[in-house]
C-alpha cells in the first residue's frame, strides 16, 4: 500500500479530479454514456457493496461478498450497449437524473495515481413518479494517462440498506 499524500483543495491535481467528477455528472445526467465509458480504464473495477445494518460485533455494515454492482469494463459496456437497444424497458423512457457531487477530497498515491473520496446525492425522476433520492460516498482511484485522467477503481458506498428505488438502471 502506497502512502497517501493529501492534495490541497484548489491545487492543480484537486482541480483535475473535481472537474473530472463534474464532467462525469453532466455526462450521466445527459445520458452520454459512451463518452463516460471513454473516461474509464480497461481494467476498471466498479462496485457497490450491499449495506445491511449490523451491531459492531456482527461485522461492518458493508458486505465484502455481495454487491449491487460488481462490474468490469466488459459488463459496463454491456449495460451501456443495452441502453441503446430497442428493448431496454427500464430506461424507456429514460430516468431523469441529477448527480450532485461535493466534499471532494483528494490524495496522491503515486506520481500518476490519485485517490478521491466524494459525497453524492442522486435524484431520479421517471414517468410521473415521485423523485427517488439516493445518497452515499464514492471512493475512486484515478490514473493520469496520455489521454487524460481515467477512472480505474470505484467503490460506491450507498446510504440505504433497503433500496427505495425499484431498480438500479442508472449509474453512480
Amino acid at each position: 500500500m502506497d502512502a497517501l499524500t493529501p492534495v490541497s483543495v484548489g491545487s492543480a491535481d484537486h482541480n483535475l479530479v473535481a472537474e473530472w467528477l463534474y464532467r462525469e455528472a453532466m455526462l450521466f445526467d445527459r445520458g452520454d454514456m459512451n463518452a463516460w465509458l471513454a473516461l474509464v480504464e480497461p481494467d476498471i473495477q466498479y462496485r457497490m457493496p450491499v449495506r445491511r445494518s449490523a451491531t459492531p460485533g456482527a461485522g461492518g455494515d458493508f458486505s465484502t461478498l455481495m454487491y449491487h454492482f460488481d462490474e468490469s469494463h466488459s459488463s459496463l459496456t454491456a449495460r451501456i450497449k443495452r441502453l441503446g437497444t430497442e428493448h431496454a424497458w427500464a430506461e424507456q423512457p429514460a430516468s431523469r437524473t441529477r448527480h450532485l457531487v461535493s466534499n471532494v477530497l483528494v490524495h496522491r498515491a503515486k506520481e500518476d495515481e490519485l485517490h478521491a473520496a466524494s459525497a453524492f446525492i442522486l435524484t431520479r425522476g421517471r414517468d410521473d413518479d415521485a423523485i427517488d433520492i439516493l445518497s452515499g460516498e464514492r471512493e475512486d482511484v484515478f490514473r493520469k494517462t496520455e489521454t487524460g485522467l481515467k477512472l480505474a477503481r470505484r467503490l460506491i458506498l450507498i446510504d440505504q440498506t433497503v433500496l427505495k428505488t425499484y431498480n438500479l438502471s442508472v449509474f453512480f
Partner: protein, 449 residues
C-alpha cells in the same frame, strides 16, 4: 349478513358482494385484476394466507454461531432469529413484553442477551425474560417472569438450510407443507455433500408492485424472456430464436408449489445445470436416479415455493467476455401493501465451491439479476406498471387472461413427482399458483389434500 365459507369464520365475499370464488377461475384461466391492487384483498390475504402459512425467514448459514441474530419479517410483523447456546435456532416476535419495543434493531447482531432500550427488560438467547428493572418493586402477583418470555413463532422448521416459520399452530409441519416439492428442492440445495450457503447478505429493495406478479413470473413464466428481456437478445447474450427456450417441462408439485425445467445451451459438453464438473460425483452420491436425470439434462430451472419464495437455477453471461456461468438464487417477495413489495434476493452456492467458481457465479448473478441486473431491471418495470394500471376500477371490470398451452397432454414419462407437461412455455403453473392462493383465502384447512 355476509355469506360465510362453510366450516370457517371466513366471509365468502368482498364488501361489494364479489365472491372470492370469482377472483380466480383456474379452469378458464381468468384472473381478477383486483387481486393485485385491492387493499381489501390484501387484508384478507394477510389474515388467511400469510398469518397461517409457512414463510421463508432465513438460511442456516446466515447465523452460524451461538448469539448470532437476524431480524426478519413474518406476515408483516418483526421477528428475530437467534442461535442459542445449544446450537438451536429460535424465532420470536421482536418485541419487548413490557411496552412492545423491538429488542433488536439492526439487520444482524451478535448478542449475549437482548436488552430492551426502553426500560431495560432483558431476555436470554433462548427468549426467556431474565431481568427486569427494579425487580424488588414488583410482588409475585404482578410479575411472573416465566410467563413473560419473548413471544415465540408458533412453529419453526428447516429444510436443506432454509428456515421457515409460521404464526399458525394448525398448519402441518414444514416437511408436510413442502410435500413432494422437497424432491425438487433437493436438486438445488441437496446436491453437494455439505449443502449451500448464502454469499454475503441478501440484496433488499422495495418496488411498487403486488408480490403476486413476482411469484407468478417465477412459477414458470419462461415465455416472457423474449419480450421482457429482448435487450439481452439484442446484445447477443441469448439465442435469437424466440422458441429456443421453449423446450423442457412445466411441473405442478403439491400445494401450489410449481416450477419449470429447460435444457441447457446446445453444447455437447454441457450438463448438470452447468455446475463445475467436480460436483458431478456429489450429485451422483446425494441424489436419486430420477433427480440426477433432471439435473443432468437441464440448464435452467425456476419455480415458486408457495406462496412467496421463488428460486432460479440458471446459466447466464453478464458481460461479453465471461463464459456462461451458473448461479442459484432464492428470493422472498414480501408484501408490504396491496401495491408494494419488499424483495430480498439471496445468492446461494455450494459450501465446497472454489473461490474461482464463487467469484464467477457471484459476478454473473449481480450483473444479470438483483436490482441492477440487466435482466431483472426490466422485470420491475413490468410488475410496477401492471400493478399501477390494475388499481383502476374500470380496468378491474376486465379479467386478465391466462391460457397458454392448456391443451398439451401430461408428460407421463416425466421422472419427478407431481404433474408435468412438455415444453416450458405455458400457463398451467401460474394457474396452479392462483388456484392455491384462492384455496387459502376460502378454506379452513387448505393444506388438507
Amino acid at each position: 349478513m355476509r355469506a360465510m365459507v362453510e366450516g370457517t369464520g371466513f366471509s365468502a365475499r368482498l364488501a361489494d358482494g364479489t365472491s372470492l370464488y370469482d377472483l380466480v377461475d383456474e379452469k378458464r384461466g381468468r384472473i381478477s385484476r383486483r387481486i393485485y391492487a385491492d387493499p381489501e384483498v390484501f387484508e384478507l390475504e394477510q389474515e388467511r394466507l400469510f398469518r397461517r402459512t409457512w414463510s421463508f425467514l432465513a438460511h442456516e448459514s446466515e447465523l452460524p454461531e451461538p448469539g448470532d441474530v437476524l431480524t426478519r419479517d413474518l406476515a408483516g410483523e418483526p421477528v428475530l432469529l437467534v442461535r442459542g447456546d445449544d446450537g438451536k435456532v429460535r424465532a420470536f416476535l421482536n418485541s419487548c413484553r413490557h411496552r412492545g419495543m423491538r429488542v433488536c434493531r439492526t439487520d444482524r447482531a451478535k448478542v449475549k442477551r437482548f436488552t430492551c432500550p426502553y426500560h431495560g427488560w432483558t431476555y436470554s438467547r433462548a427468549g426467556a425474560l431474565i431481568a427486569v428493572f427494579a425487580e424488588d418493586l414488583y410482588d409475585d402477583a404482578h410479575l411472573n417472569k416465566a410467563e413473560l418470555g419473548l413471544v415465540p413463532v408458533a412453529q419453526l422448521g428447516s429444510y436443506r438450510g432454509l428456515i421457515f416459520g409460521t404464526w399458525s399452530g394448525d398448519v402441518p409441519p414444514l416437511e408436510t407443507f413442502l410435500g413432494n416439492m422437497k424432491f425438487y428442492l433437493d436438486l438445488y440445495l441437496g446436491r453437494s455433500d455439505a449443502g449451500t450457503e448464502v454469499v454475503g447478505v441478501p440484496q433488499v429493495w422495495d418496488v411498487d408492485a403486488n408480490w403476486k406478479f413476482a411469484a407468478d413470473n417465477f412459477t414458470g413464466d419462461n415465455f416472457h424472456i423474449y419480450s421482457a428481456h429482448g435487450s439481452i437478445v439484442d446484445l447477443g447474450l441469448l439465442p435469437p430464436d424466440p422458441m429456443a427456450l421453449s423446450f423442457g417441462a412445466l411441473v405442478r408439485a403439491e400445494g401450489g408449489h410449481v416450477l419449470h425445467f429447460v435444457p441447457g445451451p446446445p453444447d455437447p459438453a454441457f450438463s448438470h445445470f452447468g455446475v463445475p464438473k467436480e460436483f458431478v460425483p456429489h450429485i451422483e452420491r446425494n441424489l436419486n436416479p430420477a433427480q440426477q436425470d433432471l439435473v443432468k439434462r437441464h440448464g435452467y430451472s425456476v419455480g415458486t415455493v408457495f406462496p412467496n419464495l421463488s428460486f432460479m437455477q440458471v446459466i447466464v453471461q453478464g458481460d461479453f467476455e465471461s463464459p456462461p456461468t451458473p448461479f442459484l438464487s432464492f428470493r422472498l417477495w414480501q408484501p408490504l401493501s396491496a401495491t408494494k413489495t419488499r424483495i430480498s434476493s439471496y445468492l446461494l452456492i455450494e459450501k465446497e465451491a472454489s473461490s474461482a467458481y464463487r467469484e464467477a457465479s457471484s459476478s454473473a448473478y449481480v450483473r444479470t439479476f438483483g436490482p441492477s441486473g440487466i435482466f431483472e431491471q426490466d422485470d420491475m418495470e413490468n410488475w410496477k406498471d401492471c400493478t399501477r394500471v390494475n388499481k383502476g376500477k374500470i380496468a378491474q371490470r376486465h379479467f386478465l387472461h391466462h391460457g397458454m398451452n392448456m391443451q398439451a397432454p401430461r408428460d407421463e414419462s416425466f421422472p419427478g413427482p407431481g404433474e408435468a407437461w412438455p415444453g416450458s412455455y405455458g400457463e398451467r403453473t401460474q394457474l396452479a399458483f392462483y388456484g392455491e392462493w384462492q384455496r387459502w383465502l376460502t378454506e379452513a384447512a387448505p393444506w388438507t389434500r
